[in-house]
Symmetry: C2
Amino acid sequence: MQKTIKIGIVGYGNLGKGVEKAIAQNPDMELTAIFTRRQPDQLQSTGGGAKFEHISAAETYKGIIDVMILCGGSATDLPEQTPVLASMFNTVDSFDTHAKIPEFYELVNAAAKQAGTLSVISTGWDPGLFSLNRLLAEAILPEGKDYTFWGKGVSQGHSDAIRRVPGVKAGVQYTVPVQAVIDRIRSGETPELETREKHLRDCYVVAEEGADLEQIRQAIVTMENYFADYDTTVNFITEEQLKAEHQGMPHGGFVIRSGVTGENTKQIIEFGLKLESNPEFTASVLVACARAGYRISQEGGTGAKTIFDLPIGYLSPKSAEELRRDLL
Amino acid sequence: MQKTIKIGIVGYGNLGKGVEKAIAQNPDMELTAIFTRRQPDQLQSTGGGAKFEHISAAETYKGIIDVMILCGGSATDLPEQTPVLASMFNTVDSFDTHAKIPEFYELVNAAAKQAGTLSVISTGWDPGLFSLNRLLAEAILPEGKDYTFWGKGVSQGHSDAIRRVPGVKAGVQYTVPVQAVIDRIRSGETPELETREKHLRDCYVVAEEGADLEQIRQAIVTMENYFADYDTTVNFITEEQLKAEHQGMPHGGFVIRSGVTGENTKQIIEFGLKLESNPEFTASVLVACARAGYRISQEGGTGAKTIFDLPIGYLSPKSAEELRRDLL
């Protein structure tokens, strides 16, 4: 019987709650404590009797917790937290500011190498599973073109932008991939496309009483950097409708590579996700990667790793023999 | 500048020809020689001036060829060839008799361990990419169900069975996934399904002159182990139509996992292939895996590996830095 992997969660927002639930689905793992910057005694576990600790107490869990799963945001939390925690623990995070990944990698790699720990960085679904599929498809079909579509899903940044428009009380924005474009690519075409040609923006807006709806619509569809370049639809709804129909956090998308082999033989590789909860799914990827990171650490591996560096078999609780027999 | 990876091909059927073409798409690789059991001077390369050698000369290439890509069949060729060649070279093969993989693994692992070589076994798309996606999806969504669909594609075994029916001159059988079932699963249902409920069988048959077509149709659709349990369609066509429309070797399929996280939150992961040429695509996977095997061998790795054991980044010619910057 293998020893249970002891997990700590840092941050208890949607992602941290998702990790708590995902650990409960994996019998080879055990949640040791949840670390927070808030008052730990004011937090209540949604998934059972988890123990809360102030983040400043993390150090006292050195040698007890096998992997810390960091559930903070990429803007300010992770660049600060990951290197500090990597100097004490194996870690996993979902740092997703694509442009800053190289610099984040160097920072975390240095901290983890020095401490002899292992950190899986920038995992989840994009970056994460989508990245893995972009790489795999490009390696197999070097002559080709790949397309990433996101959605249908809520974009937090665009929803925030809607809510800043005068007269708007509340609102949600969905990014929606353009089905006609997906169909063209699936049929073997390889068009040149900007992100805006691949996606629509669907807005659901609750207006303040007496607000000029047409003025709100105009303000949204002409907003630079957010909506001006896109086909944007604005739907006005009531607060009740918003609560009833738009509280979920669905997301998903596709990575499609259309390539050729031999004498112009068309070959298409596609990976897709359809998620009712983006944070719960991301959490499930983090938990599987925590298992892989723990194993590599047990074998003596140190430093920062991405999903590109993990033998995928390490994400499963099954042995290599079982995997060859049952899944190959 | 990295050294070019020197490749040998063993077997020059459709798969071997596909590997030759795939190597031409990968500038970090070089085809050193093609090994055959036939008279080497009677073979002509379809893809350029490749050198042919009799298989018995393989030993003289020890230390020259970095990876041997074995393109023989799983029934008799590979169980014999892989262990022998693994005792001299790093190898890659597409051994696809699922039930015999554990025993094949042990055989090859022992030979490769003893010789200090590395063998990537049972790769391609199923086993291979489909296996990888079954594993990945199960590791991320431990509570769920997965479905593998094959096709639309030619089944060699079923095409052979058609051709054995009296009165049949020629014929091709396509395995076709049932769209309505795929749609149910994509929408979140998780039905219990037998292979025969997920696939149709479409037959294109050239009858001999004067043959009783209805009798042929009956003989096919009632054939035990092949067609009796399936919805089977028999289409009679002319020899010209067969040549014009059914000479390709298309294939593909889907691996779909429908799982739940948290409190019954539905999450769907899907991987799909749409291939105009099954052997050329399989060949492209073998070539990318040859690169990964070579790298692991350069790092001192030995023994048999499957796609579950390969860090996926090793399949790409790009450096880890480039991959993090461009694809993560």
